[in-house]
Symmetry: D2
Subunit: 409 residues, 4 copies
């Protein structure tokens, strides 16, 4: 039999749903609730969550509000981008990458305050429940996990609102009805899904988009920027050095205003069904293009091809919530081992949805013509070598051709 | 010791360089030359090659001119696209995929006319020599291969032109000087490289582009089209059924006029150095987006993820010229085994460089809501199942967490 | 709410546990029970199951007994062996490969008799429940699945026996106590696990082994046999053509009597924990060695290396019960596409635990010296070619060396 | 034009062939020759090479003799074994792994003595030339590489012997004729190939074997040993801590005297042909079994499966001579990142060719039953969870089954 939790760290946004959860945890378990609210760049003022938590009776020492934007970008977003990760060939994993960070903080706070349970607000049909919970279990294996959407008895929105009213939880007017779609946001991206977006054969309405203008509405003249890299990570825009979060915010602004980073995707959730999402990742889209650009002149072919082959698996691990699993860490070690010379500057043109690399240079360029000549008059490339190269590569195919002729009879 | 070739099948474009080769083969080996000219959709009139070959003394029965556009798209381009192949994350392999077809025809003609050698016009520093020759050897292992650029003694363009003049080979005025860049073209793409494009930090001049307008010059209003698929391959545009080559040509027109499909890439050649190319693949870029769209609703997650993991290797095999190698055929068999339900229609918006999927539907959609309910009132998804799913996936991580705690001491 | 099943196809061994299940299904659901008993070469007389089922009140038309040995080996074991599949580097997947066949037959019988549910006897902690149920769901998505070990209320063996007695189920004397370990067997292998085998630091007692003598007890003189292959599958022993099941049975006898095929393994179950098993796969061990032998002279390097890279994933899919999943079928298509020339004869020495290939020949050998010479005096291998081959392969490393020198400063 | 080398570091064994090379380098290039002789555990006395080099006129300061056994095992063999590397499923890479170490030392000596060239004694048809030269070029890109077997004019053994006599090179009597097979040896293995071994359908004669008795001749009673591991590498035998080379030598003795580690293999050389080799790797074979044993209880499933999938590529890189390539280093980083808890002790029984793990324990065991229970009475495994786990894993297959039914019907 499972023991009743006594102290629960709740991932608390300050919104209606997690406020209801807060109350429900108190009433369902009689437990002490600790709220944790993180600023991951989702927009809005996280300090409002403090006020709401207090209103709902949470003791000041049980309210944790953290600005995690730099940690998020430095320790999660940038390492993931080193892999050039795309899930199912297209998705930049904006939601996936934020979950392990929240899990880690909830667990850390649980350790600090002596809580025996954690609680998240993800539903029972999606990926996020998995991501949160794999994070919790990996970091604190004896933790009790509460997922109210899977557990509580509320059968409808009406039930939820009734519970809210019965418990004096303030309900904003626009929360009375069901939202036309649901949103997740952080510094890397915003995603929209559900309801008006459910038919994959119907274009997304324009009001869905949160942080990008449409290509059609973007400026008629291109914006050209230079992104500087050091050892695989971006460090500057147009020569100005920036912190990770500042840099990504700036790229979001530049990309979003140029109509860059929209994605309308039907994807495979790990819980077994397909879903359709609208993603906006303006800064990330620019960053991926720029990273490909700087890697194209600084990464050796063998390293690049291995990275490309490992990438889909890495992306799937992140998508599936295995950030803290050893196989993700092993792949990260391989990827990071390739990045020491990924340094230099990429010129990108931003124009109406396009992020186009138009220049790249590096002090460690492998393209540099000086590199491929070793001393005066003696290049390391002799066209005659190509014949031997081809002959030996062809040898097995020539032998095989004789086998095939025999097989045919 | 290698025997002197007696009859040589030359891949002949009708241009200056391969005309010089034609003569050189005659004078160097005293061999009978058979010319093979293929229409792969490169543009221009292939029949002109007949006239030129005759002028250079080739007997009519030794002149082969073939329209291979349908074979090219049906048997090479479309199978490759089933893999969603991108070399180094970006390149659609437009040059690579044409070479094995030419090799195959040269070998077939050699068998027919009793030739003992084949000859191609690729240089000794590039990928194409490898692709041609691996094709030759795989299909006719005892063939003699001649690669004049690696073998002849001409040290400069002046030498070449002198040889041309001495042998009455007509030289067009604009061929006297060195071209500012070199071009390869076929129905899938055109590529430009060399000289004015050599500095990877300098943007490509606009006159380099052959078949696309710039996004800036593209129309201000989007074009929306529907592409129909059957079993993995495109079969119609806006409801009109088309042959493979006709369809690709139409997509080129639609994409090219909307500024779609330009790529400025520094890539790793298989012969060991990096090179910079400007690629234009308007139709292919639209097609890749559309294929991703139709696969997103018709491919099972397991199939899609396996395809994504195999793709980089498949792309590298095509790039490296291993089209006729068993490992490419094995991967193709795996990929093709996934495509039977990739049928339906994708709606794409073309606008200033962007090819955006905005709708997809299929009679075999795995997204269809009817599919995920099995009978009245009983869905196959129970949110409670998610808890068990997560618990068991987390189990090894929880055990591992205890190991890690022990390791830390 | 789930509907109560009306007619259930039970995988019935005739043993005590599945007899209890039979009764329990009747009493718990009031359902009609259909028994299915398969001869997969596990040993024992399957017809006894008919008698027992009748005793327990099953109608004759509801008793299905099938000899599936040939289908098992031909359609499941041999295709898997084409992959040279080893789970975690060592396990020949003897239990895993039998489950989908049983699932398939249960589903087919369910369709035939109009049953709405299937039931298996696997426990809730192991892999087999997953393998059975993935098979059921893949083949008949609306089937109701019953797994009594997960569902019933019996808390102990005493409870089970009490239920058996109360329901007039005969209990053999040696079934009163708990067995010292549990066994699974079929024509490919037998496995033992649990209880006396639980401490992975304690050697398995000799009485655990079912079908192999120990190497110490095996004959002091070797047995040398020849195994013939056609297109990847074994077809004869010492020149005598045999059906798949007959051949595997013969290899079991030969291997088992020579102490071959024992494995003591701690493996990772897919449900998240490690377990220790003792496997005996005498014929399979000989077959794997022989297959490696025949492939070594008939498979091209590219095909072999791709197979080797795909193998671990293939093995994991089979282990995890994804036999009917598209990704397993895709990999199978790739593997099968490589096998057409895997024909010939391998000589193997069997001696005290060792199965050693000492000879191999094939009409399609790629090793044959005649193959590597194309015509008189002209080999296709010129040692001078090696220099060019190496130079071009080294080129990127030479360039990289200069990058690394710069990085060091 | 290539410059004539002035000072050449020769990999010098002291044997006839490399003595001829020494003279040939002097006469062909008029170059100063520096000899490098390494003790890699091949057997024999390396100091004899000093005497021979002096006889041939090499100045004392130009003679380098190094005992590299510890470096070889610690920095090359053990890291490779962390990958459980097997080329083509079987070969433990004994020759491949020694080459990069020799290359590294030759290059280091070249830097020290100011030599501009290096020379090795590998033939032009094999793998070793590639391995040596990729090593040279990766470490010193401007080095001149000399491979006499590819370059000199000697057409036969008679020519060689004539040159030797003409240059006062002593010829041992048994070197007058052609050896019946050729040998390579180091502390990890010995290999034999060529001549009497060329027919892959003829068993290897017993006199070929160098360091193992046959299973038939091995003792009739088993030897049981315990191998201790720390962080992935073996550190002790039967409780006695040993240096890497000492430990491997001891395992060779134990394995070899028990008939363990023989392999008769037809393999694919990277230069395009198949060859047959007889390998003896007694200690390595025992070590691989032991490593699998200790990993089986200490490695997480995700880490183990990733390792297994990466292994074939790692093995091929080592086989192909890409030890110093970034992709090998990346894979090594991934593998090494998994090894911190691979600590403990494995019990192995050695008996007539079999190395059988019969026990394994670790302070960090993931199998330990205590680990899988978190607190009193509360296990982290609930059989009910399995249902949800299976249901969600099956969901996509159930949906797919409906698609397949539609496709059929």
């Amino acid at each position: 039999m499972t023991k009743t939790p006594k102290k629960i760290v709740l991932a608390y946004s300050g919104g209606l749903d997690t406020s209801i959860m807060l109350k429900w945890l108190q009433t369902e378990y009689g437990a002490e609730v600790v709220t944790f609210t993180a600023d991951l760049g989702q927009g809005g003022e996280v300090e409002e969550a403090r006020h709401k938590a207090e209103l709902l009776g949470i003791k000041p020492e049980n309210i944790f509000i953290e600005d995690l934007r730099e940690e998020f970008v430095r320790d999660f977003v940038f390492p993931m981008f080193r892999a050039n990760a795309l899930y199912e060939g297209q998705y930049l994993l904006g939601t996936s990458i934020a979950r392990p960070l929240i899990s880690k903080w909830q667990v850390d706070i649980a350790e600090k305050v002596g809580a025996d349970a954690v609680c998240h607000g993800a539903t029972g049909k999606g990926n996020d429940q998995v991501r949160f919970e794999l994070g919790y279990y990996a970091l604190k294996p004896d933790i009790k996990v509460i997922a109210p959407w899977r557990d509580w008895e509320f059968a409808s929105r009406t039930d939820l609102l009734a519970f809210a009213e019965a418990n004096q939880i303030p309900i904003a007017k626009d929360k009375r009805g069901e939202a036309p779609f649901s949103i997740d946001a952080n510094l890397l991206h915003s995603s929209s899904e559900g309801r008006v977006l459910e038919d994959p054969d119907v274009d997304a309405p324009d009001y869905v988009f949160q942080r990008t203008v449409s290509p059609e509405d973007a400026p008629d003249t291109p914006t050209v920027i230079k992104i500087g890299f050091e050892a695989g990570d971006p460090v500057s825009i147009d020569g100005e050095t920036m912190s990770p979060a500042t840099l990504l915010a700036k790229l979001n602004e530049l990309g979003g205003s140029n109509g860059i980073g929209r994605l309308d995707l039907v994807e495979n959730r790990q819980v077994g069904m397909k879903s359709r999402g609208i993603y906006e990742t303006p800064g990330g889209t620019v960053l991926l293009a720029a990273r490909r650009g700087i890697e194209s002149i600084t990464l050796d072919a063998g390293a690049m091809h291995l990275k490309d082959e490992l990438m889909p698996r890495y992306a799937k691990l992140v998508y599936d919530g295995f950030w803290f699993a050893p196989e993700r860490e092993m792949l990260q070690a391989a990827i990071d081992a390739s990045q020491s010379a990924v340094t230099g500057e990429v010129t990108i043109k931003l124009y109406k949805g396009n992020a186009t690399v138009i220049g790249r240079k590096s002090p460690y360029s492998l393209y540099d013509e000086d590199l491929v000549t070793f001393e005066e008059g003696e290049s390391d490339y002799d066209q005659k070598d190509a014949e031997g190269f081809i002959k030996l590569r062809a040898l097995r195919l020539r032998t095989l051709a004789q086998q095939r002729a025999k097989l045919k009879g």
